[in-house]
Symmetry: none
Amino acid sequence: MREIYIYDTSLRDGAQGNGISFSADDKKDIARRLDAFGIPYIEGGWPGSNPVDDRLFEDPPKLSAAKLSAFGSTRRPGTDASDDANLKALTASSAPVCTIFGKTWDFHVTDALQTTLEENLDMISDSVRFLKDAGKEVVFDAEHFFDGYYANREYAMACLGAAVEAGADWLVLCDTNGGSLPERISEVVEDVLLTYGTPVGIHAHNDCGLAVANSVAAVEAGATMVQGTVNGIGERCGNADLCSVMPILALKLGMDLGMDMGGLTDLSAGIAEVENVIRPNGLPFVGEDAFAHKGGMHVSALSKDTRTYEHIDPSSVGNRRRILVSDMAGRASVTEKLKELGIEESDDSKQIVDRVKSLESEGYQFEGADASFELLVRKMRNEIRPVFHLRGFRLFIDSVGDGRLTSEASIKVSDLGGKTEHTAADGNGPVDALDNAIRKALSHFFPVIDGIKLTDYKVRVLDGKAATAATVRVLITSTDGQHSWTTVGVSENVIEASLYALLDSMEYAIYKEKEGKSQ
Amino acid sequence: MREIYIYDTSLRDGAQGNGISFSADDKKDIARRLDAFGIPYIEGGWPGSNPVDDRLFEDPPKLSAAKLSAFGSTRRPGTDASDDANLKALTASSAPVCTIFGKTWDFHVTDALQTTLEENLDMISDSVRFLKDAGKEVVFDAEHFFDGYYANREYAMACLGAAVEAGADWLVLCDTNGGSLPERISEVVEDVLLTYGTPVGIHAHNDCGLAVANSVAAVEAGATMVQGTVNGIGERCGNADLCSVMPILALKLGMDLGMDMGGLTDLSAGIAEVENVIRPNGLPFVGEDAFAHKGGMHVSALSKDTRTYEHIDPSSVGNRRRILVSDMAGRASVTEKLKELGIEESDDSKQIVDRVKSLESEGYQFEGADASFELLVRKMRNEIRPVFHLRGFRLFIDSVGDGRLTSEASIKVSDLGGKTEHTAADGNGPVDALDNAIRKALSHFFPVIDGIKLTDYKVRVLDGKAATAATVRVLITSTDGQHSWTTVGVSENVIEASLYALLDSMEYAIYKEKEGKSQ
């Protein structure tokens, strides 16, 4: 028997987040990923409230062990549970678990719901009983429980009592507004556990940046269910991030969640991909930078023992160590970086450091641009030689007739045999025109270029004081559908900086394809 | 006397974050903002370690009340403190406060530092005494204190004892690897306070998503200094976010920080702008979405009483409520903004809000661009009419002969009488060429233009996913030597976005000069 049950609400409460919207297929895809990871409860949505959720419950995803849960609320005031369309949709749904929320804060009952305290108690017990009679496992989400408890403990506890008597399987205490501190959470969870024998869960929001701490505090006080979302998505500041809560419970507190954390980073990245949201690089445990080291002294200590600056082994959550090559770093960082990129070590690390430092003084920064760094090293070692020559290009930007701006690039490229391609392309702005023209020319010689897509383009002005003549750094991320890589270019001219980053990206793609073939 | 002292390390530990790099001017700008907000300690950097920090301490920003702090480490093993270049740079610096970190985890002393436990104690006491003898306020940052304490409590405490005996003013306990849980933090802080009388501080990292919780736990256990960064920037998962810690202490726990939280959101947004980092929308308290409501039921309850779904009043941290379905906010802030800019109020604030919203949906942001906002309002009111017409321009960017890039702009401008100026100019890149050509043409009609200088140029890519065809926002700051103003332009074309911001800047200068003459 596992000790702690994780309940994912990405598909319901997570969908309240700004910019999140799911199709039924998205929901199924995410549910399958959660199930494969081993999460035991997956809240799918609110049947009867929208077509996407109806479709999900009509044709639920095949799950190996996870239970799908359908969400709803207690019956409306002054009605019968068996007449309530919402509750009927829950019992009719394919989900074995039903989760309903009910009011427990007296002020909400009288002011938001505009009914009597007595009627709200009946609403809770009628609704829970109706679902239990239909054979469902019932989770009672006690909305605003912590605020309600402090406003009127007796009434808040009576609400839980109504759910318990009607047979609720779980009492989940919700910090709906996210304003509670861990100490209050612990006290209240302990009180509820002493008062009722029913298992308790926690549902925390991150409005104070404390959702993870509040979830952990509740578990330490005896709660055995944690509700949250992958990557902490959700309304306002989000829900408790399960990608932090789970490894803390499993790896730091040694609790049994019935899951292996080794796939956690993939879970986080994969679900963000389906949601089409960009994960912050600094996400605890699973972020791109979670084990990224920049300070020179840190890197030198890490090479002696990784425990010096890592609280856990990155591989225990499926993440990896990254060494950021930057002006703060020295030889140790370069050596570590080579290892990380799978480039053979050699006795040239001093020359590499010198070259990196000299480029950094021009404004280059390789910490986010592994592909440019790898090209640099392999060129210094003569492992990569130029495969094409840029003979020249011209850009024309016009705003003459109707005021509309047009951008056109012409370009001349030749391969090593001297075959020349001279072509031109339009674009949405000068950099786009240049990108289109380069691709068009190069794909004649290197068909691999056709499959490359740019996915991110960043511009940073390095020295604001020089105003429009300032040095700019451009970072470009490209993908071939499977892998992605980032390149960097620096110049006082934004066009030239973009050009360097573009050319590096293409060169990297051509090199990697050749390397793949020769293996 | 304030109860709790906030110590900002954005400029030092924050600079370890991936993608963060400061010029000396950036550091001064940020220090002034922190000072204006009322933060009492500002760690500027590490003198003697790099040219940026040397410049900062040689010519420190004028601060009204905050103390600037210089960072360094204990002396090297087997040397004399008075011979240590690093410690000498600290005593020679202009900073009244010196913060040095020292090892307190036995394993780090023997394995990373590779010296004896005894020598490390001497290193701590010698270094602290050397700084105290120079008349500095000394903060001792006990690196890895919590890990060290659990590995070998006696030795970790002895390290603090060495600092205390040498006269350290503060003992700051660092959770350097970010792996500790709040309960451990509380226990250890209590033990240290019972053992030594010296004031204690906390320095927490966010590797478990617990940096805010750990900082609050330490304060509740008796710590009186909190180190952290604005928006939580920093290495790996970042430092404790002061924008969460401060309002929790001030607004939730009623502690006296000697600061008003009303400017917190502006502080957060302004510093992110200088750092050129994008703040996550879900940042607690200060994020764009921190008080954004999407759920229909939530919105309806909010209209009855905002306490139903808000844990604090958004205005108490300078933030605002947003309703994501139909944004109802904004009118009050426009009114406030007009007042701030000294523009007469009128009954057109609804039209202004509508216009601002529609421009914001295209990617405009007027927060940092007061001059563009003032032009917008005065044009809507017909107080400013166009004084020149841009008839057209062409940009030529060539890289054909020797590979050097040349940029040239030709431009045609006419005044209201129909007099036309057709001219051309070179530049350091296309935007610079365009700027030079516009100035050259306009200064014929408006000699004031000759005295205007651009001082800052920022580019932000708004939609990374569209790669080189993404929408970009350009911010340009100009000065006439006395005043400076900022304008904004948005387009999918970086040239066009720059052009809009440039034209706004010139128009603003011409308007202000005319207004000055007519008074």
